[in-house]
Amino acid sequence: MIRYVLRRLLLAVPTLFGIIVIVFLLVHLAPGSPVSGGGEALRRPTGRAAEELRRLYGLDRPLPERFGAWFSRAARFDLGESFVDRRPVGERIREALPNTLFLNGLALALALSIAIPLGVVAGGRPEGAFDRLSGAALFALYSTPTFWAALLLQSIFAVQLRWLPLYGVASDPAPAGLAGLVDRLAHAALPATCLAYGTLAFVARLVRSGVAETREADFVLAARARGASRRRALWTHAFPNAVLPLLTLFGLLLPALLSGSVIVERIFAWPGLGRLYFDSILSRDYPVILGLSLLSAVATLAATLASDIAAAAADPRVRDGASP
């Protein structure tokens, strides 16, 4: 086990290095240079900001030296100042983070609490009526663009039925106490649904195929032969074993959720990381773009590592086997 953890940690070092290189390339090679820019720029740093940028990223120095400087700053998580309001990038990210965590946490809870029972029941009787029906529904969700779903939900629940607010985080002024909590949840309902359904379809399909495969394994048949009920055989014998190999995929849910946040937070005017990233792209706020890219990639790497190690701790075959 210790050997496995060490090996995974060691393999993460070049990946981390690669992440820092890609973020560096993103700003230095794509637009020619961030100060001269390329293409139709909506806003390009000029004057003081351009000078500042040159100094910060050392654009007047040779490439290897620039990379060295960026690397040492990235390693210390020194992300610089935003061009827009001259506040530290870390501070702007810290402000937006709770909103995104709240929304994504809600979305993830919603997705998993529906996807897992759905997957287990559908996988318990592959090709049965429920499996076919839920399969078709999940397939439709899988092909639905997030921004279209958001517009339709807004149109139905906020405009036609007037059940839920159209956008925003909370009413102004926000009611106090329990009413305040209800108000926040009402505001989060539509955006969280939009973020959740993609993850729901993804996880439910994986759980379903895992359970469908495992339910015929010897240990499940043996449990049935010993007199365990169908439900018990599925939930306590087939499901845990089916879900183990999926643990390693959970790290990759993080970048998917952040991608969704860019669109959802824009449509629902939700001041989180996704909106911060999109606004920074439009205003060419390079320090924020770099800081957010770096942080999200490093967070994903950490989540992938954690889920790999969790899978190895739960299943000796993973750590002894040749797989990653």
Partner: protein, 280 residues
């Protein structure tokens, strides 16, 4: 020979849903080919008829400039289909090159290329897409490159696994033992047999690429104004969400239909190529 029988077999083995999907895809391409007939109507601005609900004259209603939405949705078809197809091809090409190299050579090269795949997967796709699409000069080529260069890691992982599997199968080892050169083994034995799963991956890739293009256009960093795309039409919907639901409904429906058709086709191809209907 091997390839042609495999291909014939997979088309005949296509389940009913896959055939319907194939028909829909073909129909969409025919619509795309005929769309220039409506291009004049799609561009005609009639401010007197702005935000008109669906009617006999305008089956999908009109937008904020009084332009006919039906004509605009039809005229957006070729761009979405073409960008989806070419971007998926770019992704497949890059992904196959990286994945097959890693799987074939193995060892240190595999370790290094696998890290590269892992690095790209660590970034939220839309972060990379937005940065590339917004920083490069706006053009169809930029969109295709941005989508292709962010989507390839998935294809690379498929290609790597497939090449590693086939490399150690008896027929590949027999060919090597019989003295076949590496290029010969690669082109005559490996490629034809690795192709079916890659075609499945490519078909899913097209659906994904169409969604990606629509998302970028919706966010305003897709093709600039005169070009019409479904995402672009949808980007006009939010300000009028309270009075004109049709601007949001119909372009999205076209997008949903197209992506579903490609995904359903991909599912069908997967069932057909994993011969004995081995359900994954």
């Amino acid at each position: 020979m091997t390839a042609s029988t495999a291909r014939g077999g997979s088309l005949r083995g296509l389940p009913a849903s896959g055939r319907v999907a194939l028909a829909v895809v073909l129909l969409l391409w025919i619509v795309a080919a005929c769309s220039p007939l409506l291009s004049e109507r799609a561009g005609a601005i009639r401010l007197g008829e702005r935000l008109a609900p669906p009617s006999a004259a305008h089956p999908f209603g009109t937008d904020d400039l009084g332009r006919d939405l039906f004509a605009r949705v039809v005229c957006a078809t070729p761009i979405s289909l073409a960008i989806g197809l070419v971007a998926a091809a770019v992704s497949l090409g890059v992904g196959f090159a990286v994945g097959a190299t890693a799987g074939w050579i193995g060892g240190g090269v595999d370790l290094a290329l696998s890290r590269l795949i892992e690095v790209v997967l660590c970034f939220p796709v839309l972060f990379l897409l937005l940065a590339l699409a917004a920083f490069l000069p706006p053009s169809p080529m930029t969109l295709i490159l941005a989508i292709g260069l962010t989507a390839w890691p998935g294809d690379a992982r498929y290609a790597r696994a497939e090449v590693m599997r086939i490399k150690q199968l008896d027929y590949a080892r027999a060919a090597r033992a019989a003295g076949a050169s590496t290029p010969r083994i690669l082109t005559r034995h490996l490629l034809p047999n690795a192709l079916p799963p890659l075609i499945v991956s490519a078909a899913f890739g097209i659906g994904w690429a169409i969604l990606a293009e629509a998302a970028l256009s919706f966010l305003g960093v897709g093709l600039p104004a005169p070009a019409i795309s479904w995402g672009g039409i949808l980007s006009a919907a939010p300000p009028y969400i309270e009075e004109a639901w049709w601007i949001a409904l119909f372009p999205g429906l076209a997008l949903f239909l197209t992506v579903s058709a490609y995904n359903l086709l991909a599912e069908g191809l997967r069932t057909a190529t994993t011969e004995k209907g081995r359900h994954a």
